[in-house]
């Protein structure tokens, strides 16, 4: 029924005529990113270019790389550190007609044991004197999962996502938005390397490992409310709350607060974010015996944990008045510090006398972004 409504809304939006919407600006951005935390380092570039054609189309392309060096807690306790690279290329087309904008996108992500191809489609429209923007979106993904060192293993994942968004200008100074997204996956949904542990008196350390077994379907719902408020001294306050739950029993909540302050050619941004979730139905740090239940997982992403982060950013306008065909340019730096705290995932680098009493795991991560943006 949900799908029927979304399709119906899409058709209704396509039938509309009226005034005119606005295409996204022409720009080029080059980002250098770096993540360091929990024994994992990931670096790489992200290049984005966008250009309008014939006042009706806007084409964008993105090239993104993650160079991963992983000695994470899972890798260290059950495998050996590895290096790999993930390359993601995407292309998008926006088409503007009267008051609505349609977008189509293709994203391809490749790494040595995972390929993901995603098609996205979306429509958005301004209504009620341009105070309200309604957006609908659909994505379809076809992914291939492989396992390094095991040429016989090959499986697939099919993903579909339905998105609905409404943003509303409430006053001259206040903008609010609601968004909903439902995602369903089918196929091989876990990591092909990860293992669960179970009590095993026959083992010298008191426990043994076996492969995870996940359900072959997963459906999740997320609903978010966000707002942006213009402060009288020319600054902006933002707040966001997102609620998440899925068919695997995971419930998550995100809360974020931000402040933007411009001063001359500088703009400063500060954000605090708090995420917490409760564990999935088939997750356990330590199972009582082998094949304890139909589905077994020890992925810390499915455990009960919280992630707090603080973000600081600065932007500098380097081209007041433009230069040749470039109208505007900025240099930007953003720093995020994350603190992850797990309530039911234990740090197995410590051997405990009794399995299940190892210290709970926690780690910090530092993320740096340095990027230059040009508008033309």
């Amino acid at each position: 029924m949900t799908r029927g409504i979304v399709v119906g809304l899409l058709l209704l939006m396509l039938a509309r005529t009226g005034g005119a919407g606005v295409l996204p600006e022409d720009r080029a951005d080059l980002l250098l990113h770096s993540y360091d935390g929990g024994g994992v380092t990931i670096q790489g570039p992200s290049l984005l270019v966008r250009k309008q054609f014939a006042q009706k189309f806007s084409v964008s392309a993105n090239y993104y790389v993650d160079k991963v060096s992983s000695a994470s807690i899972d890798v260290i306790t059950t495998a050996s550190p590895y290096k790999e690279q993930r390359t993601q290329k995407s292309i998008g087309f926006d088409y503007l007609h009267d008051r609505w904008t349609m977008n189509l996108g293709f994203i391809s992500s490749v790494e040595n044991d995972y390929t993901a191809n995603t098609f996205t489609f979306g429509v958005s429209q301004d209504v009620f004197g341009d105070l309200t923007t309604i957006s609908l979106g659909y994505s379809l993904g076809n992914n291939e999962v492989r396992r390094r060192g095991d040429a016989t293993f090959h499986d697939t994942v099919k993903m579909q996502s339905y998105r609905l968004g409404v943003s509303q200008i409430l006053t001259k100074n206040l903008l609010v938005g609601f968004s909903f997204e439902t995602i369903t996956d089918e196929g091989f949904l876990n990591n092909p390397y990860r293992q669960v542990r179970y009590l095993d008196s026959g083992s010298p350390i008191g426990y043994s490992y076996e492969r995870e077994i996940y359900p072959r379907t997963h459906t999740s719902d997320a609903a978010a409310l966000r707002m942006r408020y213009y402060l009288p001294w020319r600054a902006a306050l933002s707040a966001e709350y997102r609620d998440y739950h899925d068919t695997w029993g995971v419930k998550g909540g995100t809360f974020e607060l931000g402040y933007t302050h411009p001063v001359d050619r500088w703009t400063f941004d500060g954000k605090i974010r708090s995420y917490s979730q409760t564990k999935g139905n088939f997750y356990a740090d330590l199972f009582p015996r082998s094949h304890y239940q139909n589905f077994i997982a020890r992925d810390k992403e499915l455990s009960t944990f919280s992630s707090q982060s603080i973000s600081l950013g600065a932007t500098y306008d380097i081209m007041k008045g433009g230069w040749k065909f470039i109208q505007k340019g900025t240099l930007n730096i953003v720093f995020d510090h994350f603190m992850f705290d797990y309530q039911d995932f234990r740090d197995l680098r410590t051997i405990a006398a009794t399995p299940g009493t190892e210290p709970l795991y926690n780690f910090d991560a530092d993320v740096f972004e340095f990027f230059a943006s040009f508008w033309f």
């Binding site: 005034g19 005119a20 919407g21 606005v22 951005d29 980002l31 992200s46 984005l48 993105n62 993104y64 301004d126 009620f128 004197g129 341009d130 105070l131 923007t133 957006s135 979106g137 998105r163 968004g165 943003s167 509303q168 200008i169 006053t171 001259k172 903008l175 938005g177 968004s179 997204e181 439902t182 719902d221 997320a222 609903a223 966000r226 942006r228 213009y230 020319r234 600054a235 902006a236 997102r242 998440y244 995971v250 998550g252 995100t254 933007t260 411009p262 703009t267 995420y275 979730q277 999935g280 992403e301 499915l302 992630s307 973000s311 930007n332 995020d336 992850f340 993320v367 972004e369 990027f371």
Partner: protein
């Protein structure tokens, strides 16, 4: 789960009221006029000023957290054209 039932009943009532009003055509004039959109048009009020950065940080969150989805947003701005 009685809380959810109350919540849903209230939602349905509000939606029914809104739906009737809206379909009945009690024409709502835009209360923020296009010539009052100067603050909305300011770059500091943009919901997503740096798409390359927000896409990256969304990916950092998605890769480590169980939750996913509902991260986007469009709207606001100067409403020109």
């Amino acid at each position: 789960m009685p809380k959810i039932r109350i919540h849903r009943a209230a939602m349905s009532a509000a939606l029914a009221a809104l739906g009737c009003c809206v379909l009945g055509g009690c024409s709502i004039e835009p209360w923020v006029k296009p010539y009052e959109r100067d603050h909305m048009a300011d770059k500091i009020m943009s919901l997503d000023p740096n798409p390359v950065s927000s896409a990256y940080i969304d990916h950092v969150h998605d890769a480590r957290e169980g939750a996913r989805g509902a991260t986007g947003g469009a709207g606001g701005g100067c409403g020109c054209n």
